[in-house]
């Protein structure tokens, strides 16, 4: 028996997301099981199946330095969007 990780896509063009896994004796039955477990209610447009051994898991990167300055938490996207819309509205009403 092996473990296969299943990724499903909601609709065409959407990213594949991890759905869960299936345990199966071979790739063929893993396909059958993935289809019946993750798309029997037509909830998936497409599935990917990856043998768990094929996944290369990396160790977490050690946090030696404070890298918070690289994040954009302090930058309010909503505010900038509002400003941009206001500026655009002004431009259009002219």
């Amino acid at each position: 028996m092996g473990v296969w990780e299943v990724f499903r896509q909601d609709r065409k063009g959407q990213p594949f997301e991890h759905a869960g896994s299936v345990v199966a004796p071979d790739a063929g039955l893993a396909e059958v099981y993935a289809r019946e477990l993750y798309s029997r209610r037509q909830e998936s447009d497409a599935l990917w199946l990856v043998a768990r051994e094929a996944i290369r898991a990396l160790e977490p990167v050690p946090a030696e330095f404070d890298l918070s300055y690289r994040r954009v938490d302090g930058y309010s996207l909503r505010l900038r969007l509002r400003e941009a819309r206001a500026a655009l509205g002004k431009a259009e009403s002219r």
């Binding site: 071979d26 063929g28 039955l29 059958v32 099981y33 289809r35 477990l37």
Partner: protein
């Protein structure tokens, strides 16, 4: 206006007589009911594995396959019901046991994995042949439903064939498969018309890898004792409240 038109109760319980009276294309509706009954009863039998299949994945997958079969039955009953002026539920649940036209193969209760797989494989292989013929039917509606069913059956066949390969891969599995196929072969022949049987035998032999025994087909129309028990249970809730709106 005939008695049959005026009395839905009679219509429900006697599609045979109704058909004869209305003079509908008998063969077409008979075929629809044969197919629908096969799918309904096999779906019901396969659903007996829910909760007790060998692995959780197999449990969900096989239960889902069983539900698909019942879904196919519904589509076929709806076609027949439109012709007969009744409903799919009435055709599925309100007939007398002797009126069901399902092949004896699907009636058998064999809650043993090798026999379940053997029956599943034998049925799907027969069904593929039957659907191929129906897809070429002059009746566009029937051909369309057959094509839809076949697209789903393709996954059932894949499941059945993978299991046959899996059983064949070990000595013990191969022996169990052979015993089950040989036991069920006379029943399997009864699913199809005589003309389709040679091709059917050829396909089954190619997949199982041994010669099938000469067998006297167990024909449609025979009712195994297990069928009455199944119908008793299947219609229990519906009979508990006759005429209820669910």
């Amino acid at each position: 206006m005939s008695d049959f038109d005026a009395n839905p109760r009679t219509a429900r319980s006697a599609p045979d007589r109704l058909l004869a009276f209305l003079g509908k294309p008998r063969k077409a509706i008979e075929l629809l009911l044969e197919l629908a009954d096969d799918e309904l009863i096999l779906g019901w039998r396969d659903s007996e594995w829910t909760g007790i299949a060998p692995t959780i994945e197999e449990d969900v997958a096989f239960s889902s396959i069983a539900q698909n079969e019942i879904g196919h039955a519904r589509a076929l009953y709806e076609l027949a019901a439109a012709e007969l002026g009744t409903t799919a539920d009435e055709l599925a649940f309100d007939r007398r046991p002797e009126e069901y036209r399902c092949a004896p193969l699907v009636q058998l209760r064999r809650l043993e994995w090798a026999r379940t797989i053997a029956r599943h494989f034998l049925y799907e292989t027969a069904d593929a042949l039957r659907l191929e013929a129906l897809k070429a039917s002059d009746d566009a509606e029937l051909a369309g439903v057959a094509a839809k069913i076949d697209r789903e059956e393709a996954y059932h066949r894949m499941h059945a064939e993978l299991w046959v390969e899996r059983l064949r891969a070990s000595e013990d599995g191969a022996a169990r498969l052979r015993e089950a196929v040989e036991e069920l072969w006379p029943y399997a022949l009864g699913v199809l018309d005589a003309g389709q049987r040679p091709e059917y035998a050829r396909r089954v032999e190619a997949a199982v890898g041994f010669s099938l025994p000469d067998a006297e087909p167990v024909e449609r129309g025979r009712h195994e004792p297990e069928l009455a028990e199944l119908l008793e249970e299947m219609t229990m809730v519906r009979r508990s409240a006759p005429g209820a709106q669910w």
